[in-house]
């Protein structure tokens, strides 16, 4: 933990869309660095001492809840676990995550986006209406499979992958990596009874996995190091297979390559 009392310069995006006449601008604040200081601590310090109108979102401040995604010196990441000591020249610029509705300053509406995404992909276990008896032994699962599902279930819906996605910036309706990772998670879960055909209906177009330009900003910025590249490639192959089957059953509609 370093901290030499140096002065940090925060250049922060300011805009209140509800304030008539307000225009987006950058504002600079000076903060004295403290040992172990994170962007979370610094922003609260700025709000309490310099500018009480500054909007930002934190909840867990421990890198767990995904609330505090923002663009820090050009890179979308979680602010709460970013130490100020990481920036040798003490200049830190903060912008709200692009691709989400702006609430004000650094606060964006990821919640609305994620709810719509979950509804769109039906991001829940489709058990085909089986009624479970809660008194009986649970259905068994291969221990490795459980661990693999957990790997993908670690997504915190912070939105960094969405903000870092060039395809999403070109196509507003693009599902984005967060949606792909969710599908990949349910697809490998034996409790979800959906078929490839059903996943194809969600993913199998340009707004889905075929629209991805494979620039992999998602892989580069994911704070949880989820295997985006690997899973997107997997889903593409899988969906290509599904597409062939669909084509075989209804050639006139899909056409052949």
């Amino acid at each position: 933990m370093s901290g030499n009392g140096r002065k940090l310069k925060f250049h922060i995006f300011r805009f209140d869309p509800q304030q008539p006449g307000d225009k987006p601008r950058m504002q600079t604040y000076e903060v004295e660095e403290a040992p172990g200081m994170t962007i979370f601590i610094a922003l609260n310090d700025i709000r309490a001492k310099h500018d009480t109108s500054l909007q930002f979102d934190f909840v867990c401040r421990a890198g767990i809840c995904g609330s505090c995604g923002m663009v820090i010196n050009g890179r979308p990441t979680l602010a709460c676990r970013t130490l100020t000591s990481k920036f040798p020249n003490g200049e830190i610029s903060l912008l709200p995550l692009p691709a989400f509705e702006l609430i004000g300053d650094l606060s964006v509406n990821t919640g609305k986006f994620m709810r719509i995404m979950t509804e769109r992909i039906e991001g829940w276990i489709h058990a085909n209406g089986e009624k479970v008896n809660l008194d009986s032994l649970e259905e068994r699962m291969d221990p490795d499979r459980a661990d693999e599902i957990y790997e993908l279930d670690r997504c915190v819906e912070c939105g960094c992958c969405v903000s870092a996605c060039a395809t999403k910036r070109m196509r507003d309706e693009f599902l984005s990596a967060v949606g792909f990772m969710k599908i990949a998670r349910f697809e490998m879960d034996p409790r979800d009874k959906r078929t490839d055909r059903e996943y194809y209906n969600i993913l199998g177009n340009d707004q889905g996995v075929f629209g991805c330009m494979t620039l992999l900003g998602c892989e580069d910025t994911c704070p949880k190091d989820l295997p985006h590249q690997n899973r997107i490639a997997y889903l593409r192959r899988k969906m290509l297979g599904a597409a062939r089957k669909v084509a075989a059953s209804a050639p006139a509609r899909i056409g052949s390559p």
């Binding site: 509800q18 890198g63 459980a146 661990d147 957990y150």
Partner: protein, 656 residues
């Protein structure tokens, strides 16, 4: 005036709130959840280590069942818990976990055959049974007789919250995000909903409902350093308190978790010690066996936190610029185990401390963690004094934790209480029709609007950030792990003065819509009231029980203090809460008070204890052929919704 009508209004979108909402929605009731934030960001997601339920699948939990879980929980509570509620809880927990499995939680599973584990600092090989392969496994946690804590790595709360929120989305339950309930609408007898402020537009909206459930979590943020999320400010508790009739049960029962990192107070899970991690001092010496030879690092949380503090007071802490701390050593668990089962811990160490727990010790110190106290309810989850108001999870004093909660029992409570309280809240909606008195609604909104106007219009006054800091400082200094009468009195005096000052807050940012300073100005006076209840209740309780440790009154005193504190705010202008007590009836207890088995037992017993113990023995003798269920029923029959009454199956023993 904007009004939203519903049947079941749930304030709080964490595990407890969502699970209540699912149960009322399932019964065909219109249901709305209010949340400060997107539901998946709730503090439930920070629960790392696991959820207790006696599934008894892993070999180290063979023989575990509801009875053992019951006994551990009662002992853990230092006999402060409501035993009926604990029975309901331990019986429902296995069903809760199985339902969550069905909804998608990737619980870690039993793998048949040999595996190496660390127990008491030694490598030990255990052999999992073939027949248990693929069932939900469990890890060891503090204060339990059996391995019982089910988990997904150390992201248990996260996977649970995602599964439950996804279920709520599947059911089409609306979550109104960035909405804050700032006052309940009530007439002193019945609750009709809440006045809600939209945190984006600033608009005040009346949400009217037959049943209103508060599931807003704990009040850790009244302390300067806490493991709690920044939203755990006790506002739900406070708006209940401000009704003047709702009782705040056991406010003084505040838990300090042994292992939060220094200085920021972020939690490292009890799973670290459950999986074999050790606590060490400045000399690298493992000190816990000297204090607690039997349970060592895995004594109950309150005990470990006190022993750590004692040890630091002996000069054995590690000096740092943030004060003394101790070491948590998980290096002996090995890289593979840490990267698989303690991943969040590894990330937290890496990002916040710049260390690798595979090689380095983790600097830790006991830190405020959990609020056992909360809105006092009946076993149905309904307030004991305001009809139509329910509460569940950490916000409630249901009361299954008494004076100390066991690790793994909190996320378990959120789901179980969600199921049970959701069931009773749905019954309430079915059985009651409500007349909404629009003039009452208008009056309540106008009162809240006026308070906001006054804050915005006041040209000069108190700085809200400074008030908050002063409140947090006095709570840290005077209402901590070890407590003393004079320090508690000082906290009460400080807080009384702060409450007065909080009536004169002026803010710089004058806008009515999204305005973080206005949010603070609305919350801080409420938080000070909650803090005052904590400090005053702690001052008055002249005994030590569970997490409430009075150095000037070190004995647990059942004779005078086997009772639950009930704080309430009688008149709006009162400068102090009114405190009453509710006796715990030993003659109805299945498990009469005894020793928890830590240190020297200096309990001052209640005369009923001996009588009840005799009675219990007689009942047991009179039924030599009874199985454990019949015997339990004879000792203490407990209420239970029919849908959750079935016996729980376990591998190898069936439903026995």
């Amino acid at each position: 005036m904007k009004v939203v009508y519903t049947d079941s209004l749930v304030i709080g979108g964490g595990l407890a709130g969502l699970r209540v909402a699912i149960n009322t929605k399932k019964r065909g009731l219109d249901t709305i959840v209010l949340s400060l934030i997107p539901a998946k960001r709730s503090h439930s997601s920070a629960a790392q280590g696991g959820m207790q339920a006696s599934l008894a699948a892993c070999v180290k939990s063979v023989g575990d069942n509801e009875d053992v879980h019951f006994s551990d929980t009662i002992k853990g509570s230092d006999w402060g818990a409501d035993q009926d509620v604990v029975r309901m809880f331990v019986h429902t927990a296995p069903k809760a976990i199985r339902e969550l499995s069905h909804w998608g939680v990737p619980w870690s599973r039993v793998r048949k055959g040999n595996r190496e584990v660390i127990i008491n600092g030694q490598k030990v090989t255990i052999t999992e049974r073939d027949e248990a392969h693929g069932l939900i496994t469990a890890r060891d946690f503090g204060g339990t007789k059996s391995w019982r804590t089910c988990y997904t790595s150390d992201g248990t709360g996260h996977t649970m919250l995602y599964a439950v929120d996804n279920k709520a989305i599947e059911m089409g339950i609306p979550v109104h995000e960035r909405k804050e309930a700032i006052s309940l609408i009530h007439d002193g007898k019945t609750c009709y909903g809440a006045v809600v402020r939209d945190l984006v537009t600033g608009e005040l909206i009346a949400y009217l409902a037959k049943a209103t459930t508060i599931a807003t979590g704990g009040y850790g943020r009244i302390y300067a350093i806490t493991t709690n999320a920044v939203i755990s400010e006790g506002i739900g508790t406070a708006i209940a308190l401000e009704t003047g009739v709702v009782r705040f049960g056991n406010p003084e029962a505040v838990q300090f978790h042994p292992t939060a990192i220094v200085p920021v107070g972020i939690l490292t899970t009890e799973g670290c010690r459950g999986d074999g991690g050790l606590l060490k001092d400045v000399d690298g010496y493992r000190f816990m066996p000297d204090y607690e030879p039997e349970k060592k690092e895995l004594a109950s949380r309150d005990v470990v936190s006190r022993r750590m503090t004692e040890h630091m007071r002996k000069g054995k802490g590690v000096k740092s610029r943030y004060g003394d701390h101790l070491w948590l050593d998980i290096t002996l668990l090995g890289k593979h185990h840490i990267e698989k089962n303690l991943r969040e811990v590894k990330e937290i160490c890496q990002y916040f401390l710049g260390i690798d727990p595979v090689k380095d010790y983790i600097p830790v110190r006991p830190t405020q963690h959990y609020s056992m106290g909360g809105i006092r309810t009946k076993y149905t989850g309904e307030s004991s004094t305001l009809r139509g108001l329910f509460s569940a999870g950490e916000a409630a004093c249901w009361d299954m934790h008494g004076f100390n909660r066991l690790g793994g029992n909190s996320v378990a409570e959120t789901i179980v209480a969600g199921m049970i309280v959701g069931h009773y809240a749905a019954d309430y909606c079915r059985d009651h029709s409500v007349d909404f008195n629009t003039s009452l609604v208008e009056k309540t909104i106008a009162r809240e609007q006026k308070k906001i106007d006054e804050i915005l219009e006041r040209p000069q006054g108190e700085n809200v950030f400074q008030l908050r800091e002063a409140m947090q400082a006095t709570m840290m200094e005077n209402v901590g792990i070890f407590r003393q009468g004079d320090a508690l009195q000082k906290a009460v005096n400080d807080l009384k003065a702060l409450l007065k000052r909080s009536k004169n807050i002026a803010i710089k940012t004058k806008v009515r819509h999204a305005n973080p300073e206005l949010v603070e100005a609305i919350r801080v006076p409420k938080m000070i009231k909650v803090a005052l209840c904590v400090a005053q209740a702690a001052l008055l309780r002249t005994e030590s029980r569970g997490a409430h440790a009075r150095e000037d009154c070190p004995a647990r005193n059942d004779k005078e203090w086997l009772k639950r504190t009930l704080a309430y705010w009688k008149n709006e202008d009162d400068g102090m809460p009114t405190i009453e007590y509710e006796n715990l009836d030993i003659m109805k207890m299945e498990m009469p008070p005894g020793s928890r088995g830590y240190g020297k037992d200096n309990t001052i017993h209640h005369p009923d204890t001996e009588r009840r113990l005799k009675q219990v023995e007689e009942i047991k003798k009179s039924k030599p052929k009874a199985d454990r269920f019949e015997l339990q029923k004879a000792l203490m029959d407990f209420p239970m919704p029919e849908e959750y009454r079935g016996k729980n199956e376990r591998i190898g023993v069936g439903c026995q």
